[in-house]
């Protein structure tokens, strides 16, 4: 899985936001905000990653059990899929 081209991640107004440019604008009305965890996942997905490697990255960063980490990763991936941001 990989983030499609056409998104800019940046800190604005003290928050991490993703703003679409060009054609990507059609799939995302305005922008989305990310927290620190989803920012990490986004960065990994920019380079290309699968569910297992993302779960491993979350486990490495936070003191939570694997099923919680995997559920979080799945929820984030679903959100991106629904908005057609990853493919």
């Amino acid at each position: 899985m990989k983030i499609k081209p056409g998104y800019v991640l940046r800190e604005v107004a003290g928050s991490i936001v993703v703003v679409p440019i060009g054609e990507a604008t059609l799939n995302l009305n305005g922008m989305i905000t990310l927290n620190e965890t989803s920012k990490m996942l986004w960065k990994l997905l920019e380079a290309g990653a699968d569910e297992d490697s993302l779960t491993a990255a979350v486990l490495n960063e936070y003191d939570i059990d694997e099923s919680t980490a995997r559920a979080d990763v799945k929820a984030f991936i679903k959100k991106l899929e629904d908005r057609k941001i990853i493919g």
Partner: protein, 239 residues
Amino acid sequence: MILNIAGLNVKITPRYEVLASRISNEYIAPDSAKPDFSINIIPGYLEQKQKENPHLTLAECEYIWSGEAVFASMLDFGGFMLHSSAVALDGQAYLFSARSGTGKSTHTHLWLDCFGAERAKIINDDKPLLRLIDGKFYAFGSPWSGKTDENLNIKVPVKAIAFLERSQTNSIERIPSLAALPLVLNQTVRPLGEERMSCLLSLLDRLLSDIPVYRLKCDMSHEAVETSYNMMSERNESR
């Protein structure tokens, strides 16, 4: 010809009368002025735009897209366009933004009614430019002002921005910076390319930390002006 737009010298060569006729003398700089940037519309571009927008003439396309080219270049000089009606009152700029047809121009003209021509004037009725200069945001007029020619070549420090919605009653509230970001993005020309978008976002980060943004719900009465002015001018700050 060389134009003075938002404090910058812009080289532009109008092909058609529509653009030329909308440039009032106050924008014309001497031919000897050194341009900060040039607008070159590549051959075929206007023809393409006209094909996409058959209700417009080629001359109207030149007017609209030369403006867009100027707005896009402003980013190199800390500037961008906010689709809004900008009014100067007592030397400070108040910008009212909304989708076309909401009544932003109606609202700023109510300001002119209430405060009179001595104190209030329209900087640009539809597409003012904002520029960050020496750490401060200023609003400027330009020859690109939508349907009317209400624009002035003046530089006015920005006091506040409001996003306007029509309502039966008048109210105004502050919008947190993060929530204001998509509103601003939807009322400007989104740059193409990651680097340009990144550049705009830095500028907006600064704008949203310096300039208060409000949501104004209003009708078309003088009470609407009282509502927006009292809050945005911070006249009642210490009540």
